[in-house]
Every structure is written in C-alpha cells, then in structure tokens.
Subunit: 397 residues, 2 copies
Amino acid sequence: MNGFGITAAKGFRAVGVHAGIKKEHLDLGIVVSDVPAAAAGVFTLNRVRAACVQLNESVVQNGILQAIVVNSGNANACTGAKGWEDAQTMQAVTADQLGIPAAHVAVASTGVIGVELPMEQVQTGIKAACREAAVEGFETFAKAITTTDTCLKQYQATVNIEGKQVTIGGAVKGSGMIHPNMATMLGFLTTDAAVGAADLQQLLRDVTNESFNMITVDGDTSTNDMVLVMANGQAGTSLLSPEHPDWPVFAQAFQDVAVYLAKSIARDGEGATKLVEARVHGAKSVEDARKIAKAIIGSNLVKTAVYGADANWGRILCAVGYAGVDIVQESVDIWLGNIPVAKKGMGIPFDEEAAKEYLLGDPVVIKVDLGLGEAAATAYGCDLTYDYVKINASYRS
Amino acid sequence: MNGFGITAAKGFRAVGVHAGIKKEHLDLGIVVSDVPAAAAGVFTLNRVRAACVQLNESVVQNGILQAIVVNSGNANACTGAKGWEDAQTMQAVTADQLGIPAAHVAVASTGVIGVELPMEQVQTGIKAACREAAVEGFETFAKAITTTDTCLKQYQATVNIEGKQVTIGGAVKGSGMIHPNMATMLGFLTTDAAVGAADLQQLLRDVTNESFNMITVDGDTSTNDMVLVMANGQAGTSLLSPEHPDWPVFAQAFQDVAVYLAKSIARDGEGATKLVEARVHGAKSVEDARKIAKAIIGSNLVKTAVYGADANWGRILCAVGYAGVDIVQESVDIWLGNIPVAKKGMGIPFDEEAAKEYLLGDPVVIKVDLGLGEAAATAYGCDLTYDYVKINASYRS
C-alpha cells in the first residue's frame, strides 16, 4: 500500500492509537522517519507556552528530527513542572521504543489547558504506536491529532527533480477560526527531499507567512500552536538549496501543500459552513495587504454577514478601515466574487439577488483593491454560525 | 417635570421623533443647550470615517456647541460627496430652525453603511424635533439614537460645588460587543458645569480611556463612533478647572457617568445575557493592564465559556498570553469572582459547582493578578451567544 499525507514521502511511517486520554477516540499518534531527518519548526507567539513548545524549540535548534509523538485531548499547558516532566517522559519513552536519541524526538499536545496528562495511559499508547507505525498509518495518525475537527486534513504533492520523484506530504489539525485565537493548530509536514536544516527552516518561515499565518492574526495564537517539518533525503536527489536550479519547483510544491492544509483548517472552523478568502491587492506593501486581509477575515460582522448571505460590503470597508493601515477610503474597490459592490469607497448599484446567490456558495471570495500600490495578500477564514457558539460554550463538559 | 439623562443638567432640552428613516421607530433626535456651551469630542480611529465624524471634528475644534442632531437607521458613511453634503444640510437646517450658527451644531448618524440618507424625511424630522425639544424629551431622545440596542442607556450624577448643584448626564447607544468593532457607539454627555473647552477635552480624553475605550479594542472602532460633551455653565458656579479645589469631585462624577454608560453598552452586547468585567492588576504599567483586560474581554473563547458557565480558566490565561504584553506565566493568578482557579500560571483545585453557579450570575468578574507591578485596569464586555449570530447574519434584511 502506498502512503498518503504524512506518509506520502518515502521513508516515513505513522499511526494513531487510542491511549485513553479521550474516552473513545484515537488520541495519540506518531510519525517516524526511517533515518534521521533535517528538522524545522515554527511555534506560537503566545507568552504562555505549553511544555511541548518549549521542548521542541530546543529539538529543532539542533536541526535533526526522527520522530514526532502527538497527543490530543489534553494540551499539557499551564501544568507547571509536572507538565514539563511529562513532555520529557513522552520524548524519552518514544526514543527508547524506537532506539533513537531523545533529542531527535519532538512532542506535540492539543486539547484542554491546565489538566495533567494521564501518563500511564500515554506511555502505554506510545509503546503501542511505536510498534504499529507503518506506511498505511497516515489516516489513523491524521485522526489521532484532531480535537473538534470535523474532517481529516491531509495533502501531498510530488515534483520531479533530477529525474527523481520528490514528495511533500502532511497532516494538520485545527478548527475554531471564528477569531483566530480559538484553537490549537498543529501541522506536521514530511518530505523525502534532501534539504539542509537551515534552508528548510527559512523555507518553512516564508511559506508559513503565506499559509498558516494567513489563517491567524499575529499574536493571537494558542499556547500550543506549531508546525514541524522533517526532510529525510530518501528521494535520492542531491542536496536541494536555494542555489539548486529546481529549488523554486520544490519550494512551490511545499507552499502548495501548506496553503492547501491551511485552507482546510480555515474551512473547518468550528461551526463553519464555508471557506472565506479575502484577497487584497493594490497595497503599498505585502505587510499592509496581509493586515487588511486578516482584518476582513477576522471580522465577526463580515463572517456573520457571509453566513446570512447578506451583501453588507460596508462591514468589509469598515474592517479595511480599522486594520491599522494607512489607506485612502476614496480609492477602495470591493468585489464579492466577480460582482463589484463598491467603487472608490462608495456603494454602487448591484444585483442583490446575484450577490445573495454568490454568498450562498462555497468558497466566498472577497476581493479588495486598495488602489495604492502593487502588493497583494490572501487570508483564509470561515463564516460565523450558531454552531460556533454551541461548540465553544461547553468545551470542557 | 425634571429632566433625566441627557436633560438632567440645567438648560438642556431634547427630543426624539420619527422622521421616516426607519419604518416605524423613533429615528431622529436633538439635544439643545439654552446657551452656547463649551464643547469636547472624541472620535473613531477608523481610517474610514463617516461624513458626520469629519464635520464634528472641525466643530469641536472651535470649542463651542449648542446643539447636536442625531439620526439612527442610516450611518451616512461611505456615501461620498453626497453624504458630506447631507451632513452639512442636517447641520444647516438644525441651526436655521434654532436660530444659531451652523458651526455650533454637531451631527451624528448610526445605522447601515453606504446608503444615502432620505433627506426630505430627515429635514422634516429636524424641523419637528427643533419645535418639540423639551426638558422631558430625554427618553424619546435616548430611544431615537438606538439601533439594535435592547434597552435605553441614560445616567446622571449630581455633585455639590460652591453650594450649587452641578449635574452631569448623558445618553448613549451601542450594542454588538462580541468583537469590539461591531457597532457604532454614540455617546452624548451634558453638564451644567462651567468648564473651558480645553479642560473639558482633556477630561473627556482621560475619562474615555477608563470607560468607553475599555469596551473597545484600540483601532477596532466603527466608521461613526463618537462621544460629544456640552458644558453650558448653567449651574452657576465659577469656572471649573484642574486648579479648582472641587475639580476632582467634578471629574470623578463625570467619570462615574461615563463608566456607567460604558458598562450599559457592554452589557447590552448583541445577544448578550450578562456583563463581563476583566479586572487586571499587578501589571508593570496601566497600558499593559489595559491590553490584557481587553484581550480577555475580546476573546470569543472566553465569552462563549462564560455563556456556557464553563470555568475554563485556560482560555483566560491563553488570552493573557497573546495580549502582546511581556508577562511571566509562572506569576499569573486568576479568579472567577472570588473563587481562585489558577495560581502561579497553573490550575488549582476548586469547587466546579460553585464556579458554575458563579458564572450563571450577572455580572461575571474575571480577576487576574500578573504579579509584576502595581498598575491595574478594568475592561467591560459581555458573553457570546446564539443570538449574536442571529442578529448579525441578516442585519440589512
């Protein structure tokens, strides 16, 4: 059987098991590379950081990863010295079972904050997972890392470099994008490309700014957010770097996978019924475009209007105005899909029925031309519905 | 009959009428001082500004106001040159009817964005309002400035200065505090104190930072937000200024009125069932404390947990962490009312039933001690409910 998602690239095995952190569902997963892999990671900017985030930062600094162990159902955040000890135990037990150095194992947790992990169950689960990891385990892995996700989020892309198939795959979890601080986002990418850790890290940073960071507002991240990458070189190409002629091909495929996965998180926002994209162009800088795209995507008023299929472009313009960017109201044009609804900062006549029809579809693309420059950015989010409130009103119950 | 709210102070008359901007409800109000009054105003930071905001900024700069005309149902925002002309017409017609200079009249609008005002109805409404303004008109005025508000928001305080009764009163509108960019907030304060315009402006700025700005996140304001003050000196005291021995008494009463009105807006958030207060102390600076208090109040996850009476303190700590303030996780203590739920950044055992009981009450006070200094701040918000989504999914319909 071929792999998919997290095991699509050569030389990766994975599995998800039920350890007993959650009552019934799969709640513990591991992904293992056959050989030590180059490592990269990006982490939450929250000042309150889970033990696993602190642990992984030092792991990634060493540049080598061979396995990642993940549990859902418990974030092991705000758990003090015991939490730190538990994260280290998860790392040590995994390393021991796999016969690799503890320093080559990363740990990720997601779920409720402030509750200690049931370490007996966790350790038993890790042992089972280490035994069972296989190429075909991508789906149970993708399942085991979820919390309130309503679907599995996996993707992969393959490109041809030096006559070899180079694959990038991954699995992510995340849901709850009403406001972008809602839920932990965990992302795990694997590739059989040969890339140095420093180049991989820079690539991940650049790509994250176009993907996972465009579904979150800067700083509004959870205690546990992270994206980890392992590049194990098993495709058999020579070392890829920005100087390699096919680097752009690899980098683009890497970005495609990240953007797809980011969009799959945005679409699966808690209670969401559709993906919303805000495409901002005509900005003076990419930073400006990003700020405005995120302000639109983050506006609860815009999100509820999309849910209600109400072509209330005034709320979009209002979000443009408060994004903290120096704009000129009289030069802003707005479209819903391909329907122009405002020109030069003012409403124009448009077919309300056609706009309603468009807003009832999925995805909904909001386009804004600031009319000030050449820079552009796109942010991804979802609509805001009754079910969001339902899901979040009693999460711990 | 004595006045109340906006007409509580001597020498102010007001009224609300039905002009025809809304189908049925009162939609146009005026408040008039018997004599020219010292003026102060604070306005939205949104880059997209309604015509009335631009108009009032120049009016307030002159330091004199004698009347304010307000309409609800239409924000006259994003309406271009025609909108600007209409705001000026509202000002001119009011001034003409009252026999005062146009430059002494401020204009405020709230409602849907991007639709032109029905000026014939507005003009007829202004004429009726100018005829009917009276001390007993406070209630129709308070009603006429509302949009999705579910209650009238009026308050007043009287202090004794130099043996004279000095009164500060006011009326505000605002609702939709799920995210603080939701709805226009309009505030109108009147006082019979004798205060110079410059001192009044400084007092308003200081007080706004402790009241109306603590129900909004900086920059996340609508196109039309404003607070206007008229001080007409009719109480008969000598000129009040920060050098006057009773200035602190006056300033405190002024702040009490503003905080009460700000809390009444927070409590009436769209779909809200209760007031939520975030009291942060132990901060290194007031600015830090404000940022964190607002991050807690602005967190949809905290707001839904309060609605669900779920003592999920981890979400509170998470908001503390992403507020953009340099905190030390290990020194943060959290209470729900008087129930300690976290100490030194970690959960502690607490009576879940008692916490649930507390969260079912109103208001809910979240206290956070950062353990880093002496500064404190309080922010005001509300819970997030199903009805918020319902109200905002089809506002224009």
